[in-house]
């Protein structure tokens, strides 16, 4: 049992449990995890679980199976934290949170600069984001498809939607609570702009109704005011 506890660490969070898995073969890790859970089933029962998967690469089928098996044990998986972009994307596809826990858990708060330099690559989403999807990303987000009502994008960079925006978008979002890293240069583009909610940095837009919101638009911030202009290639 000792080896298990080395590879699987369990911590209490304010709102649930965090389980951190060490490196190893996925099938084995999973078996160990379930062995631990079954051994202490009353402790885990009804728990809200966040999983830190390290750099483990998980596909949608694997993660949804894991989530189902956890839910069969009355454990609800709500977040997956990982260093692997693939795994993060998988978690996002399944509507799981991917960030929140890490910021809370880190005992030593990260240096601001770390956040800025790392992960600035754009997240590419070649599909429609349907209700219930929540995408969080450190950099820019590009969607090839619609963003439906009930879907949400929170990007530290800009958001470009080759489709209709009818859900909610926050561009230039701050990764830190004190707002020290707002990105006022961020912008939002969409072929059709009908957001449920649109925010850039700390400014929340109210979309004007009527003709001037037709067609592809780009919305940015200028002197804390929203600037709405046609979006066309130059």
């Amino acid at each position: 049992m000792n080896t298990n506890t080395d590879l699987i660490q369990i911590k209490g969070l304010r709102d649930g449990l965090l389980v951190t898995l060490g490196a190893g073969e996925w099938g084995e890790l999973q078996n160990m995890l379930f062995a631990q859970i079954d051994e202490r089933s009353s402790f885990f029962q009804g728990a809200r679980l966040a999983l830190d998967l390290g750099d483990q690469n998980l596909r949608v089928a694997e993660m949804s199976k894991l989530r189902d098996e956890l839910s069969e044990r009355d454990i609800s998986l709500w977040a997956v934290v990982s260093d692997s972009p693939k795994t993060v994307q998988t978690a996002q596809l399944l509507g799981l949170a991917t960030r929140i826990s890490k910021h809370r858990i880190d005992s030593s708060p990260r240096k601001i600069n770390d956040d800025v330099d790392s992960d600035q690559a754009a997240l590419w989403l070649p599909r429609t984001l349907r209700s219930g999807t929540r995408i969080e990303h450190h950099g820019h987000v590009i969607v090839m498809g619609d963003v439906n009502p009930g879907a949400e994008i929170i990007a530290e960079g800009s958001v470009i939607i080759w489709g209709r925006l009818r859900g909610s978008v926050h561009a230039g979002a701050t990764p830190r609570r004190d707002g020290s890293q707002q990105n006022e240069a961020a912008f939002v583009c969409a072929l059709e702009m009908k957001p449920t909610r649109l925010q850039i940095a700390s400014e929340i837009a109210t979309m004007p109704k009527g003709k001037n919101v037709k067609g592809p638009l780009k919305i940015s911030l200028k002197d804390n005011q929203f600037l709405i202009e046609p979006w066309h290639e130059k």
Partner: protein, 266 residues
């Protein structure tokens, strides 16, 4: 035989899933198909009532998976159509009495003995929903022309896509053409515009549905009912026939446009 396994689900409750399963079961069996309907709503069973078979239940689906009876013993034969069967839900248990792998095993066994397995999913996106879609070859999302129902349908479609279940098709139920005309109700076009999946049927609002439900005679048995006709059309489309969408109100233009949008002819 290798049955096609079809699940109807919706996210939002009370939109007409059970009504649809009962009627599609009747309509497919009426076309000479061997059909098994499964009530996946453990703890809130009512497919048996809608089908008028509640007095004949001896064993239920949980009895089968827990080995208290054989599969055949839990299959209630419909006296109106001898090729139609119901496997009822357990009323006194909850969703955890069944797992996705139980459903897979059960459906694998059914595959060899019928043409269609129709699974009635409970509302929601939790365990019961997961059970219901686990074995499906084809998922139909059913919704009403109502913003909250459409929003939930969109969520369900997103989950199905994420779980690599393929793109589901859509039944839009309870359309009231008069209200659509007065712009008091979302039109089929509005709904399709958002959900962007294949349309397999539009069912009008029809008071006869409630009467039929209370009598335990699924609406597809009613030759005069427009809703019944709509469900019979869906059954034909499931079997690969090209059936024109019903004219809810001599508005050929509208339906042609919809047909184009979803890539169906007629």
């Amino acid at each position: 035989m290798s049955a096609q396994i079809v699940t109807i689900t919706s996210g939002k409750g009370g939109v007409g899933k059970t009504t649809a399963i009962a009627s599609l079961g009747i309509a497919l069996a009426g076309r000479g198909q061997r059909v098994v309907c499964i009530d996946g709503d453990i703890g809130l069973r009512n497919l048996d009532v809608i089908m008028g078979l509640e007095n004949r239940i001896v064993y239920d689906i949980v009895d089968v998976v827990e080995g208290r009876c054989r599969l055949r013993q839990a299959m209630i034969r419909d006296k109106r159509l001898p090729e139609l069967f119901l496997i009822p839900a357990a009323q006194t248990r909850d969703k955890t009495a069944l797992s996705p792998s139980d459903m897979m095993r059960l459906c694998d066994e059914l595959r060899d003995i019928c043409d269609w397995v129709l699974i009635d999913s409970p509302a929601g996106i939790e365990r019961g929903f997961k059970n219901s879609i686990a074995a499906a070859d084809q998922v139909i999302v059913l919704t009403n022309p109502e913003i909250s129902a459409v929003r939930d349908a969109d969520r369900v479609i997103g989950i199905l896509e994420a779980e690599e279940k393929g793109s589901p098709s859509l039944i839009l139920n309870r359309v009231n053409q008069e209200m659509v005309n007065k712009q008091e109700m979302l039109s089929p076009e509005d709904v399709l515009d958002l959900l962007a999946i294949d349309l397999i049927g539009v069912v009008p609002e029809d008071q006869a549905v409630l009467v039929a439900a209370n009598r335990g005679t699924p609406i597809a048995l009613d030759k005069d009912s427009r809703a019944g006709q709509a469900f019979r059309n869906i059954a034909a489309r499931l079997m690969g026939e090209e059936v024109p969408f019903m004219d809810l109100e001599n508005q050929g233009g509208l339906w042609n446009r919809i047909s184009k949008m979803t890539g169906r002819r007629g």
